[in-house]
């Protein structure tokens, strides 16, 4: 899935979810949620809430003053010997990277896990330019071999069984591959080591960009992130402008929140802090380091104050893990590399309502995501705004919902807004439903409510409270 979506039809996607997906998702999310809960308990909920507030406040401060901190970061990276590029959109980012690759005659690039690079369809562009690009995070490597995108931002291949992965390795790598996690991991390790050592370019994302020293922070477990940023002679980091934080002290909060929220680890295995290329030729590391700062719609998100906090996200995946909708459909249904609640609010704004369509409605507004988000993004509040954008339009976008729906809403509200019409409607429904009702339920009803009855009966209209109330009072007055 490195092709960017032309239109997302969430309902259609949910009808194509393979039967075993739901169970696989829930197994993965239950594990992460359990591990997370244990660590939150160990810290104590009161302290965890203090951390969350601090995480929110430092990220909001950074986003509020983003221009200042980006300029500071740029100066610091340049002082440290790195080269900074600015990309307004996906096309520009891809072109910048391809230019660097061309200058260095890159034939093979190795890549760490980066949502930003998925967002811009980088792999597809590199391959079109005749450059082999390898995902090196094990889960991403697996789904890349399979030719699909990630099903979860932290564990991209969780939905595949070890038998399927073994078959994939046999088929695509031409090796003996037993269906055992340990052995499959070793096969991937050996294959990818050859590639790490041969690659002319390493590509990474960045979990955070520290403005005060121009430091890119990467948070990984496997070591591939370190490999990509240490072994090849050229390192290119693609980092969304929203990743900027003011200073190292910000990280004391954010690093306490991130791994605990994502996988229930206190810290991931490797947290790297990279400030430019190595300072002396005698140090091991890349000779050249590039940072591509990616906008691609983030500036537009910032234009709407109510939606600004979308950009606080630290990509932990906790909201995916807790979301009941995500738990039933998995990541592919969202049609975008970032899925779940944070994916919905991000993609709806990055792609715009013409492409994202009714994606903001892919939620029951249960609010579990709000409570679990380590940086307290008001996800459901943003969803409500995005829904309004779809049906009513706002300062940045005209309405995109069909006019018939909007007319229906206006008519419905008029009816409900008039006590007389409301009561009349209630009486009419009680009369009209008669042929459909049996023992207080309707098993079959006309469209669009038949979408309800395909799964469960609809209760009969039974409004008689007002008559009952009047009757009581009449009785009382006569007693």
């Amino acid at each position: 899935m490195n092709q960017l979506p032309t239109a997302i039809n969430f309902r259609s996607n949910t009808r194509q979810v393979p039967p075993q997906m739901s169970a696989a998702v829930q197994k993965a999310t239950a594990k992460f949620l359990g591990n997370r809960a244990a660590l939150v308990d160990a810290l104590g909920n009161d302290y965890w809430q203090v951390l969350r507030q601090a995480g929110h406040d430092i990220r909001l401060h950074a986003i509020t003053h983003i221009a200042h901190y980006l300029e500071q970061a740029e100066q610091a990276v340049t002082r440290a010997g790195g080269q900074v590029h600015w990309a307004r959109d996906a096309e520009e980012a891809r072109r910048i990277l391809l230019d660097i690759a061309a200058r260095h005659r890159v034939k093979l690039a190795v890549k760490g896990k980066s949502m930003a690079t998925e967002e811009i369809g980088l792999n597809h562009a590199l391959q079109a330019a005749g450059i082999r690009v390898l995902e090196t995070d094990l889960g991403e490597y697996i789904v890349q071999l399979k030719g699909v995108g990630p099903a979860h931002i932290v564990v991209p291949a969780f939905h595949l069984s070890k038998e399927e992965i073994a078959a994939l390795f046999r088929d695509k790598l031409g090796v003996e591959a037993p269906a055992e996690a340990e052995k499959l991991t070793q096969i991937a390790r050996m294959k990818l080591r050859e590639e790490f050592l041969a690659a002319e370019m390493g590509i990474s994302g960045g979990n955070f960009l520290v403005a005060e020293t121009g430091t890119i922070v990467t948070v990984t477990n496997e070591g591939n992130g370190r490999m990509c940023t240490t072994v090849p002679p050229v390192h290119v980091a693609v980092v969304g402008i929203d990743k900027v934080v003011p200073d190292w002290e910000s990280l004391t909060v954010l690093l306490k929140l991130l791994a605990r929220s994502a996988t229930g680890q206190k810290l991931s295995c490797y947290t790297q802090f990279i400030s430019g290329p190595p300072r002396s030729a005698a140090e091991t590391g890349p000779a050249e380091m590039h940072l591509i700062l990616l906008d691609n719609g983030r500036t537009r998100i910032l234009q709407t104050p109510e939606c600004r906090e979308t950009l606080l996200c630290i990509r932990c995946g906790a909201c995916l893990n807790i979301c009941p909708v995500y738990n039933h459909v998995g990541g592919y249904a969202y049609g975008y590399p970032i899925s779940g609640p944070t994916g919905v609010i991000f993609a709806s704004q990055i792609l715009g309502p013409k492409i994202a369509g009714a994606l903001p409605f892919a939620s029951t507004l249960c609010g579990a995501c709000n409570d679990i988000c380590p940086v307290k993004i008001p996800i459901t509040r943003i969803l409500l705004h995005l829904r309004r954008r779809v049906v009513e339009g706002d300062e940045t976008e005209p309405a995109t919902a069909p006019a018939s729906l909007r007319l229906g809403a206006r008519v419905g509200a008029l009816a409900l807004g008039s006590t007389g019409l409301y009561r009349l409607g209630s009486r009419l429904l009680r009369r009209m439903q008669a042929p459909f009702v049996s023992v207080g339920w309707m098993e079959r009803v006309p469209a669009p409510l038949n979408r309800w009855t395909m799964s469960r009966p609809f209760p009969a209209f039974a409004a008689d409270f007002r008559q009952w109330w009047r009757g009581r009072h009449l009785k009382a007055r006569h007693e």
Binding site: I58, H65, A157, T213, L251, L267, Y270, G285, L293
Partner: protein, 217 residues
């Protein structure tokens, strides 16, 4: 400067409604947390070693040079080490690790040798610049004497640690690493749960992590 840069910064400043170049508001106090309070040095060290153990690292405390030499011999045998790459910091030199390994028949490959050769080493030996007990974390910086690849490419990473490098929290570590060009926090050997959520070690980074405390060495 590039058009893209001006465009992006222009849009950001317009969205923020602030004058370009105006300094940011101060960071709110609620955005900061206090560092963890450390217990006594022995408790802290015990906690560090316990946490490293939980992360599948193997720890040992060494009382003297003889213990170090014996442990190195044991490690070389157990892990089948034929080639090793080492940091060349004053500590590593003073402990004579490279020399001891050579006497055990291990070939020493310099950290900035050709990366294929470094990758063929079974063992990488480093010092530790700081350590965090709460999370079992080793902090390693980078310099000509501290090649990054030593803790990355070989299958076995041996980290030699002085108790004085323990720090209470990230705050203290960052005060020391802030101006450096490169730092890595290492918490256990390389791992993944990408295949059916089964934990496996040694994906791309080292599969084994040994942490030896050089108590009075």
């Amino acid at each position: 400067m590039s058009r893209a840069r001006e465009d992006i910064l222009g849009k950001l400043e317009a969205a923020g409604g602030r004058r370009p170049g105006a300094p940011p508001a101060p960071i709110p106090p609620t955005a900061r947390i206090a560092p963890r309070q450390p217990a006594g040095p022995e408790t802290e060290l015990t906690q560090l070693l316990t946490e490293i153990g939980r992360l599948n690292g193997v720890t040992r405390r060494l009382a003297n040079r003889e213990a170090l030499a014996a442990s190195l011999a044991e490690l070389v045998r157990a892990e089948g080490v034929k080639r090793a790459t080492c940091w060349t910091t004053p500590d590593l030199e003073a402990w004579g690790v490279a020399a001891t390994l050579q006497r055990l028949g291990v070939e020493i490959v310099p950290g900035h040798a050709d990366k294929q050769r470094v990758a063929s080493c079974e063992l990488g030996v480093t010092g530790v610049d700081a350590a965090l007990p709460e999370t079992g974390t080793l902090v390693l910086m980078s310099s000509p004497e501290r090649p990054r690849v030593a803790s990355l490419l070989p299958r076995v990473h041996l980290a030699l640690l002085r108790p004085v490098v323990l720090r209470p929290d990230l705050h203290q570590v960052f005060a020391e690493t802030r101006e450096a060009g490169y730092t890595v926090l290492i918490s256990g050997p390389s791992r993944t749960a990408d295949i059916e959520l089964t934990l496996t070690l040694g994906v791309h980074g080292p599969k084994s992590l040994y942490v030896w405390v050089m108590d009075a060495v």
